[in-house]
Amino acid sequence: MSNPPSTPAIKFEEVSRHFGEIKAVDQVNLEVNDGEFFAMLGPSGSGKTTCLRMIAGFDKPTSGSIYLYGQDVSNLPPYDRNVNTVFQDYALFPHMTVGENVAYGLMIKKVAKAEQTKRVDEMLELVQLKGFASRKPSQLSGGQRQRVALARALINHPKVLLLDEPLGALDLKLRQQMQVELKAIQKRVGITFIFVTHDQEEAITMSDRIAVFSQGKIEQVGSPAEIYERPASAFVAGFVGTSNLVSGEIAKRITGSEKTFSIRPEKIHLTTTSPSADMVSLDGVVRDVVYLGLYTRYLVEIEDGVDLVVIEQNLKTTSMDVLSAKGQKVKLSWHKDHISYLEA
């Protein structure tokens, strides 16, 4: 995994896309490996969607090159690249049936009718919509349309499948179900999937690797675990989950260095016992308590104006217990390994 043997599925070389004065994508370098489930994560306007659109061919880079399995596709129109897209609004053709929608790519390639029908049936079975071929898209639910869009793209056996906020329009339950299903489908078909999302949980759940975008640049690329446990920048630490950032004098007192570090709230424990040598220990005062059922979130002041967020699971405590902690002095501790230094 760490050392990809083959040509990357997608390679960005110093790719920029400017819209007038705005640098939507700014000198991005990126490699997506063959067969990977890859997420482009970032807030809106961070350039992730523009990157996806440039891979699809809807947008062309202002400068730099994009390679699809080694072939420079930077200036090829969408219909000349073997890449397919699942659109955010699904973009199903309303005047065609589900079957005609799925068969569209084959129809354009003038594949024989019998072959078309066979492959449409296979695809609809893959996305669990067997028997829906004669319906119109308007007769389907959001989740079903999503599946049709997926089938319509996959039937062409693209080298890379692009998904633009594929689950954005679905409700939470359906979204979680589709996350699992998408992952399963990707395993079955073995195609490289690249998807764009602003939902960090979704990115962590589904992807093999994540690229975190901010202001047209990639902040960090890594596995979900790396991104979460070793955020490279303050932006990543803040965008992917919540994090405590500690810097300056206090950082020096804790770690011996002024370098900014991040520590995740769930890694900090409220204790009464003296910690062992490989643990960091701090005194603080509980400023606020939020009881959230499964866990409780504490805001602990460790110095004037410096608060740390701490999350503790309510394994043995009740709401009464935790809420009474407000205003009390506590001891905080965490394992030294859980500290992650930021690069900048």
């Binding site: 061919g57 809807f58 219909y79 659109f87 005047h95 790519g105 319509r152 793209a153 062409n156």
Partner: protein, 274 residues
């Protein structure tokens, strides 16, 4: 509102079933189909055929001319340009219809500005050749069915451009992108996605251009030869001839034609995407 609207139509329908006494010229108020039978006399049949044929070609020409313009307005023009273009399309509707028709009479006249330019480009031979055809020709454009056709297309064009533009506006760009993403070249996308989705707009526009041409009597009066169109016939029957029942029956004619037209349009799936 509804009473006034449907009431007048109903009274029209009732009148079409009366007949006029040939001798006294009085309207006899009793139910009969004999007035309708008069529509099918060769002279009246010819009027219907002539008018419907004109309406058909005016509609086709309006659709063909409108589409590229509507497409440009809907998909390419910037927001500012779009506003200006839409104003440009509708400006003619702000001015008097009569004035516009009579200006065209002057434009198309033998010594008019159009012939001037045609001569300038050395195309007068071509024009003469066109005007020599029986059925569309005449002594000048202003006095020919061809000239009438040009004026009809000009006058009704906005009624086609606006619905087509609205329909194209409603085709999301993502559909065009999706088609291209699935391998379709621009022309294929146009044929398989854009055209079918804009078709209801074309049908909506054609309802205007077709029915307005069927019923108009000013343009055939001002432009073209002396051959009657339905509107003129209705006008003269209810006016000078005082034959209200026949005028009513001849008005029901276009209504019937439009109903058949809409049924065919529905069969063709024009309203499926609505």
């Amino acid at each position: 509102m509804l009473v006034v609207y449907l009431g007048s139509l109903f009274s029209l329908l009732i009148n079409s079933f009366y007949y006029i006494d040939d001798f006294s010229g009085l309207i006899i108020r009793e139910f009969t189909l004999r007035t309708y039978a008069q529509i099918f006399t060769p002279a009246n049949r010819e009027i219907f055929t002539r008018t419907a044929t004109m309406a058909f070609f005016v509609t086709i020409a309006s659709a063909v001319i409108s589409f590229p313009l509507a497409y440009y307005i809907a998909k390419y023009a910037s927001r500012r340009l779009k506003t200006w273009l839409l104003i440009g399309v509708t400006i003619p509707l702000w001015s008097s219809y009569l004035v516009r028709v009579y200006s065209w009479k002057l434009i198309l006249a033998q010594e008019g500005i159009l012939s001037y330019f045609i001569n300038l480009f050395g195309l007068s031979g071509f024009l003469k050749w066109l005007l020599s055809f029986e059925g569309i020709g005449g002594s000048s454009l202003a006095l020919s069915p061809l000239g009438m056709f040009i004026v009809f297309v000009y006058i009704w064009l906005p009624y086609m451009i606006i619905p087509v533009q609205t329909a194209l506006e409603r085709v999301p760009n993502s559909l065009v992108e999706a088609s291209s993403d699935l391998g379709a070249k621009p022309l294929q996308t146009f044929r398989t996605v854009i055209l079918p989705m804009a078709f209801p707009g074309v049908i909506a526009g054609s309802i205007f251009t077709f029915s307005l041409t069927l019923g108009d009597f000013i343009i055939p009066l001002a432009i073209g030869n002396s051959k009657f169109f339905i509107g003129q016939a209705v006008y003269s029957y209810q006016g000078t001839a005082g034959n209200i029942p026949l005028a009513a029956a001849m008005t029901i004619g276009p209504v019937a034609i439009m109903i058949v037209y809409l049924l065919i349009a529905r069969k063709l799936g024009a309203f499926d995407a609505l």
